[in-house]
Amino acid sequence: MLLLRILSRLLSIAVTLFGVALVVFVVIRLIPGNPIAMMLPPGATDDDIARLTALYGFDKSIPEQFVIWLGGVLQGDFGTSISLRQDVLGLVLGRLPGTLELAGLALFFAVLIGVALAIFGTIRRGKKTETGIDIWNGLTLSTPDFLWGLALILLFGVVLQWFGISGRVSPQLDLPFVTQFYLLESLARFRLDLTADLLAHMWMPALALALPLSAMIAQVLKVSLKEVMTLDYTLLARTKGYTERQVIFREALRNAALPTLALTGVQLTHLIGGTVIVERLFSYGGLGSMAIDAVINRDLPLIQGIVLTFAVIFVAINLIVDLLYTVLNPRLRHG
């Protein structure tokens, strides 16, 4: 039974990824703009154009190209970037860790801020503090992530000049890293000086990405918490001598977390989508800024590789959310 569920889940994942691959492949070939034309110097002969077109396989029909590309992908060959003339898989894997670390830090911020506001608002429910939290959430939710990025750059980078506003790490530093997961590796090597430098670069883009999500988490979790706090088992917990905070942490939070978890899963994909523009804003070397360059250069193989990577991340997030759901809700475990 469990095996069957896993199999059907894997099948649906495969179908999703195939769908994404197909749509991206076709769409970027239908929109105007010729990648070959971008590569050749002015004055190239028709013969040159034809040879290069054939070299990259663009002379074949779109279905034919798709079959060839898909065959390569299934064997781990994502093609060669047109603009960078390097293996797409290597390029993507080189940039992916930066984006994952940024998104991870942003998620951490969002959950931290959101849960704290929700709990504080629940303890002070019906008072002025709660109204203040609602107003703050409305503000953070209705301002998009790149505007928060600009505001942070203005405040901390330009006016106060406390932090640098570009890059992933200070360029003059000598990096001992063997992986691209700089933040994790700096912690593993216990090079806290490097961790500090990385965080000094990451916190602003991460916070910009986190604020809208934190507001969503705060609002949804607060509503569920307030509802759970009127249920019988929280009343029973109060009669046991628990303080309001103990009731929230020991009894209410776990049950109230389910709707928030589902929402966070969905919204996390938006957050990762947001890295495309926020990374650009902070010149952060991740997958997102690479995606923008790839689109500008009409680098079709690279675009396909990046989009497919994002799709894999989204599918993975959904899978993790579903697993967490079963952990949090014992009633889902059988059946």
Partner: protein
């Protein structure tokens, strides 16, 4: 010498000031079971919630005193009161289906008062929980401790809640309609069990119910409530044989009887309701 004393308890709706309890007074001696009866909305549960300091946020205590042993609960600061109550009192709730946390195992929900409030070690608390589950006649306590609420029947869950209520040997237990949500066949067993546990532990108990049959089975004294006002306070034999107040009389004759199932039920006459309401509201001035 009474153990639980309530004097002139006034409870009102915040804002509108509408009265929910009107100068309620009652005394319960140590080891006694005191019944609170009345129709729904009469304020019986409100008294229990006021004692346990778990009134809804929309409601406030506007006056009166609640004394437990030597302690004046109403004079304590909020936090100290919560802690004192957690150590000395317990609640057997009405609906066993909603009173257990669906995300936590049964064992923890029985022991958390012991471990979290009284500071017992986990092993000692677990041993105590097994003992209690035995006492409420749950077979295979070890398995039940590891179960989640949705894996148990309603009757089983109510037994678990009874075990949890007695876990820390509280001095006072408030049973808030503990059998109302159960099947009729299970009701009787649960009632017997509560009575037996109460006698074995010599616990003082306030028993909230709308069912005079239940009162007759477990209580020694009874307060009859109407519109937040105690209309009669009598020992159980007096109330059942020679009820003093017209409302008590009417309530008694509105109860179906097993020994004479064909006797027609008489609803409480409107004249009695009006007169009792006037009496309750006369207290407001």
């Amino acid at each position: 010498m009474s153990f639980l004393t309530i004097q002139d308890l006034d409870v009102r709706l915040r804002g509108s000031g509408q009265r929910l309890l009107r100068g309620v007074s009652l005394e319960v001696a140590q080891g006694q079971v005191h019944g609170l009866v009345g129709e729904s909305g009469a304020g019986k549960s409100m008294i229990g919630k006021a004692i346990l300091d778990v009134l809804p946020r929309s409601v406030e205590i506007a006056g009166g005193r609640i004394t437990l042993g030597e302690t004046d609960l109403t004079a304590l600061p909020a936090k100290a009161r919560r802690h004192e109550l957690g150590q000395r009192t317990a609640l057997i709730p009405q609906d066993p289906l909603t009173a257990l946390n669906p995300a936590r195992r049964i064992g923890g929900q029985i022991t958390d008062r012991l471990t979290r409030v009284l500071g017992w070690g986990a092993a000692r608390a677990d041993a105590r929980a097994v003992e209690l589950l035995d006492e409420v006649q749950i077979s295979d306590p070890a398995r039940v401790m590891k179960s989640y609420p949705h894996e148990l029947s309603g009757g089983m869950r109510q037994r678990v809640l009874i075990a949890a209520a007695f876990a820390a040997e509280p001095e006072l237990i408030i049973a808030d309609e503990p059998t109302t949500a159960l099947d009729v066949t299970v009701q009787k067993q649960i009632l017997k069990m509560i009575a037996a546990m109460q006698a074995a532990h010599n616990t003082t108990m306030l028993f909230v119910t709308h069912d005079l049959g239940v009162v007759a089975r477990v209580c020694q004294r009874v307060s009859v409530l109407f519109a937040g006002h105690v209309v009669e306070d009598a020992d159980i034999h007096t109330l059942l044989s020679v009820p003093g107040h017209p409302y008590s009389q009417a309530l008694l004759s509105a109860t179906p009887r097993y020994d004479d199932p064909r006797a027609s039920l008489r609803p409480v006459p409107q004249s009695v309701i009006d007169a009792t309401r006037a009496e309750a509201e006369a207290h407001d001035v």
